[in-house]
């Protein structure tokens, strides 16, 4: 993982593995916790881990040699997170996942990630350009 951090921003490129995703989520948690407290840090760390896990599992289909680019910029009291990957075009905003406690088996297998991503973002936008999926999230 290569990264660059200054007072107001953080940039990194990670390999497409779940361990690398967990590490970057922890770093973003730490970056925001120091500046804005644990609650916002938790939310941002969770958004990053859910989005990047989706990319690793379904975008790159667990191929560890691919890359994910993550950046975060502080704007007053909020943060803009940009996550880019070169997997096939996929707009998670078009996916619908509701939480149904009557289908606990389904929940156990997953399906909470996209609900969390949509619920925890103040704003979220998707685009595909220059061969990259680009997800911009305000938190």
């Amino acid at each position: 993982m290569e990264n660059m951090t200054n007072k107001e921003s953080y940039r990194t490129t990670i390999s497409s593995t779940l361990d690398a995703v967990d590490d970057v989520s922890a770093e973003i948690y730490s970056f925001i916790a120091k500046r804005s407290g644990n609650e916002l840090a938790f939310r941002a760390g969770l958004l990053v881990i859910e989005i990047c896990t989706n990319i690793v599992k379904y975008g790159y289909e667990k191929s560890p040699d691919e890359k994910i680019w993550v950046s975060i910029d502080k704007n007053n009291s909020s943060y803009t997170i940009l996550i880019e990957d070169e997997s096939k075009p996929f707009n998670l905003l078009e996916e619908y996942h509701n939480i149904d406690l009557d289908k606990i088996d389904k929940l156990e297998r997953g399906g909470m990630g996209i609900f969390l991503i949509k619920s925890l973002s103040k704003d979220i936008n998707y685009s595909y350009s220059e061969g990259k999926n680009k997800l911009t999230i305000i938190v």
């Binding site: 361990d19 609650e39 938790f42 406690l101 606990i104 156990e108 990630g113 969390l116 925890l120």
Partner: protein, 113 residues
């Protein structure tokens, strides 16, 4: 990393030795470890969550999996001492309607059983 501590009144406490991020790798280990535990003689399993500093959807799925295994055999599972951020996420997912959550220590819960 994980322990099952058997107490009186048919209760046991699941606890973490240190602060953890309950994400992919650890949640897979937790599920594997949990399957090996003998819970036959127990009535109540208290999951002490004080050391869970972060959780993602895979971590939550592992807690759901434990909940299912425990409650399907007529026992109860209580999540004790959840940190605010973790509890807020479970509430966002409506899981407060599924899980019993208690802010008291496991020992305090057991005294009141």
């Amino acid at each position: 990393m994980f322990h099952l501590k058997k107490e009186n009144k048919g209760a046991a406490i699941i606890l973490f030795d240190e602060e953890v991020r309950l994400t992919g790798k650890i949640s897979a280990e937790l599920k594997k470890w949990f399957k090996k535990q003998r819970l036959n003689s127990l009535e109540t399993v208290i999951f002490d969550c004080q050391n869970i500093i972060f959780i993602d959807s895979m971590g939550i799925a592992s807690v759901i999996s434990m909940y299912k295994a425990i409650t399907s055999s007529g026992k109860q599972m209580i999540l004790s001492r959840l940190r605010k951020e973790v509890k807020d996420i479970l509430i966002l997912l409506n899981l407060d309607k599924l899980f019993l959550m208690d802010d008291r220590t496991p020992e305090q819960i057991i005294r009141k059983l």
